[in-house]
C-alpha cells in the first residue's frame, strides 16, 4: 500500500515535537476528519532554522508531515513557500490514490505556519 519511504517516515518520523516560543505555528484539518497537522517554525535570517510537527492522522498524514519538515529545514522562507503538496507526495515515492488528500495537508500546514510567522513579524 505505502512505499518504503512512506513507511520509513511513518516509523521514524523526523522532527516530531513542539518548539517553545515558535516564530510561527500553522494548523490544518480537524479531529473530526481524522487528520490534524500542526507545524512549528523557528526562523532566523529568513532561514528555517528549526521545524517541528505534531500530527493526528493516518500513516500518510504522519509521513507527509515528517518529510515536509525535512524538505524545508535549512531553506529560506521563499523556498519553503514554493513547496507544493505534489512535491511532498513525489518525495515519498507517491501515495495511494485514496490517500492523496493527506498529501494535500502537509504543505498547507507549512504555508500557514509561514503566514503566521510573517504576520507576527509584520512582513
Amino acid at each position: 500500500m505505502y512505499t518504503e519511504k512512506v513507511m520509513d517516515h511513518f516509523t521514524n518520523p523526523r522532527n516530531v515535537g513542539e518548539i517553545e516560543n515558535a516564530k510561527g505555528i500553522g494548523e490544518i484539518g480537524n479531529a473530526k476528519c481524522g487528520d490534524i497537522m500542526r507545524i512549528y517554525l523557528d526562523v532566523e535570517d529568513n532561514i528555517i532554522k528549526d521545524i517541528k510537527f505534531k500530527t493526528f492522522g493516518c500513516g500518510a498524514a504522519i509521513a507527509t508531515s515528517s518529510v515536509t519538515t525535512e524538505m524545508v529545514k535549512g531553506k529560506t522562507i521563499e523556498e519553503a513557500l514554493k513547496l507544493t503538496n505534489k512535491a511532498v507526495a513525489e518525495e515519498l515515492g507517491g501515495l495511494p490514490p485514496a490517500k492523496m488528500h493527506c498529501s494535500n495537508l502537509a504543505a498547507d500546514a507549512l504555508h500557514k505556519a509561514i503566514e503566521d510567522y510573517m504576520n507576527k513579524n509584520a512582513l
Binding site: M7, A31, K32, C33, G34, K54, T55, F56, A61
Partner: protein
C-alpha cells in the same frame, strides 16, 4: 517476528480439515454436479451432504439451504428478492442503522425502487429497542432485516424477540448471521427466522461461498438468471469444493462452539480489562455482556486508527479499525457513529477479533506492545497536550470539513 492474527471477523484461515477435503474435490471429485456420469454424481453427493451439515447447524431442512457466492449475495437475494416478490403486500422494510453495507445498500437500492425503509436507531452499546421496532411496524411492512451480531462492535441483537414480533405480525424476517453463524447457537424455528445469510470464510471455510436459508414457502424474485442449479434459485455451476468445505466447517463449528466460546470469552475479557486498565483515555465500544465471545473494540483518544493498525502491523499484530482511512469513505464507521460516538473517537477505534488460533500468549503479547504504541502515537498527536480544552469540544461532533 511473532505473528498474531486478531482480525477473525474480517476473515479466517481455512482450517486444515477443510483445506484437505477441498483439495480432494479439486483434483479427484471435480465433476459438474449437473452431469449424469460418476464424476458428476459424486460431486452432487458432496453438495447434498454439505447441505445437510449446514441445515443441521441452524435446525433448518436441507432443501431450505441455497448455496451462494458469499454473505453479500445471500443478503442481496434475501432482501431484494423477498421485497420484490412481496411488493403487492406493501412496500415498507425495517432494518437497523448498524447493518453491514450488503444489507444497507440493498435497502438503499429498494428505496430507489419506491420502497420505504426504516433504519432503527441503536443505543450507545449498539442495541436496538424492541418497543421502537414495534412502533415502526405498519400495515405496509413486509420485511424486517436485522443482523444477529454486529461485525464491528460484536453486540448480539435480540433476534429471537424480533422473530416473535415478526411472526405475530405476519412479517418476513431476515437475519444477517454472517458474524454469528457457527459461533452462536441459531435455531431458525425457535427464532422464527424466515431467511438467514451466512458466509464460509468467517468460519474457517473458504472464500467465495455462503448460503441463504430460505424457509419453505417464502417467495423470492431471483437476482441472477441462468441455469437451473440450486432448485432454480441460484444459477451457475456450483462451487462444489467451496460448498463441501463450508459444510464441513459448519459441522466442526457446531461441535466446537460451546468449548471454543468459553475459551474465547476468557481471552477476550482478559484483553479488554488489560487494555482499559493499563491505557488511559480508552473506552470499550459495544455491549459489555451481550457480545460475541471473540470481539474486542476499543477507542483510543487522541490517535487515529490507521496509524495504530500500521504500528501494530509492524509488531506482527493484525487488527482493524473503524477510522475513515480504513473504511474507504469520508466518514468513520457508520456503526460507531450510529452509537453516538464522536467522530474523533470513532477514528481512534481498534477492533481485535479472536479466533481458534489465538492463545493466551497472544493476548499477553498485545498487552505488552500496545501501551508503548499508543504512547508513541499520542506523543505525536497535537490533541494530546491540550486534552482538557479538547474535551469540551467533543460534544459538537460536527461534520468533517475536509474533502478527501
Amino acid at each position: 517476528m511473532r505473528k498474531v492474527y486478531l482480525d477473525h471477523s474480517a476473515t479466517t484461515p481455512v482450517r486444515s480439515e477443510v483445506a484437505q477435503v477441498v483439495t480432494e474435490y479439486y483434483t479427484n471429485i471435480f465433476g459438474n454436479p449437473s452431469s449424469v456420469h460418476s464424476f458428476g454424481r459424486e460431486a452432487r453427493k458432496g453438495i447434498e451432504n454439505a447441505r445437510e451439515q449446514v441445515a443441521n447447524l441452524i435446525n433448518g431442512k436441507p432443501e431450505e439451504i441455497i448455496f451462494t457466492s458469499g454473505g453479500t449475495e445471500a443478503d442481496n437475494m434475501a432482501i431484494i428478492g423477498s421485497a420484490l416478490a412481496n411488493k403487492n403486500k406493501g412496500k415498507h422494510i425495517i432494518t437497523t442503522a448498524i447493518e453491514h453495507h450488503a444489507v444497507l445498500d440493498s435497502c438503499k437500492y429498494l428505496e430507489k425502487e419506491g420502497f420505504k425503509v426504516t433504519y432503527l436507531p441503536v443505543d450507545s452499546e449498539g442495541m436496538i429497542d424492541l418497543e421502537t421496532l414495534k412502533a415502526n411496524i405498519t400495515e405496509e411492512t413486509i420485511l424486517i432485516t436485522i443482523m444477529h451480531v454486529n461485525n464491528e462492535v460484536g453486540t448480539i441483537l435480540p433476534i429471537k424477540e424480533v422473530g416473535a414480533i415478526a411472526k405475530e405480525r405476519g412479517i418476513l424476517f431476515h437475519v444477517d448471521a454472517v458474524q454469528s453463524y457457527g459461533k452462536l447457537p441459531i435455531d431458525v424455528n425457535e427464532m422464527n427466522i424466515d431467511m438467514l445469510s451466512a458466509s464460509g470464510h468467517k468460519i474457517y471455510g473458504v472464500k467465495g461461498v455462503g448460503c441463504l436459508y430460505l424457509r419453505r414457502g417464502v417467495k423470492l424474485h431471483p437476482i441472477m438468471f441462468g441455469g437451473a442449479q440450486e432448485r432454480k434459485r441460484r444459477p451457475g455451476t456450483e462451487n462444489v469444493p467451496g460448498i463441501v468445505g463450508f459444510g464441513l466447517a459448519s459441522e466442526l463449528a457446531g461441535q466446537e462452539m460451546e468449548m471454543e466460546n468459553q475459551r474465547l470469552t476468557v481471552l477476550r475479557d482478559k484483553l479488554i480489562t488489560g487494555i482499559l486498565e493499563n491505557i488511559p483515555c480508552t473506552q470499550l465500544n459495544g455491549h459489555r455482556t451481550q457480545r460475541l465471545p471473540g470481539n474486542v473494540n476499543i477507542s483510543f483518544e487522541f490517535i487515529e486508527g490507521e496509524s495504530l493498525l500500521l504500528m501494530l502491523d509492524l509488531k506482527g499484530i493484525a487488527a482493524s479499525s473503524g477510522s475513515a482511512c480504513t473504511s474507504g469513505s469520508l466518514d468513520p464507521s457508520h456503526v460507531l457513529m450510529a452509537m453516538g460516538l464522536c467522530h474523533e473517537i470513532a477514528h481512534g477505534s481498534l477492533r481485535l477479533t479472536l479466533g481458534r488460533d489465538n492463545t493466551e500468549e497472544d493476548i499477553d503479547y498485545v498487552l505488552e506492545v500496545l501501551p508503548e504504541i499508543v504512547e508513541r502515537l499520542r506523543a505525536m498527536s497535537p490533541l494530546y497536550n491540550n486534552r482538557d480544552k479538547h474535551r469540551n469540544h467533543r460534544e459538537e461532533c460536527s461534520i468533517c470539513t475536509l474533502r478527501k
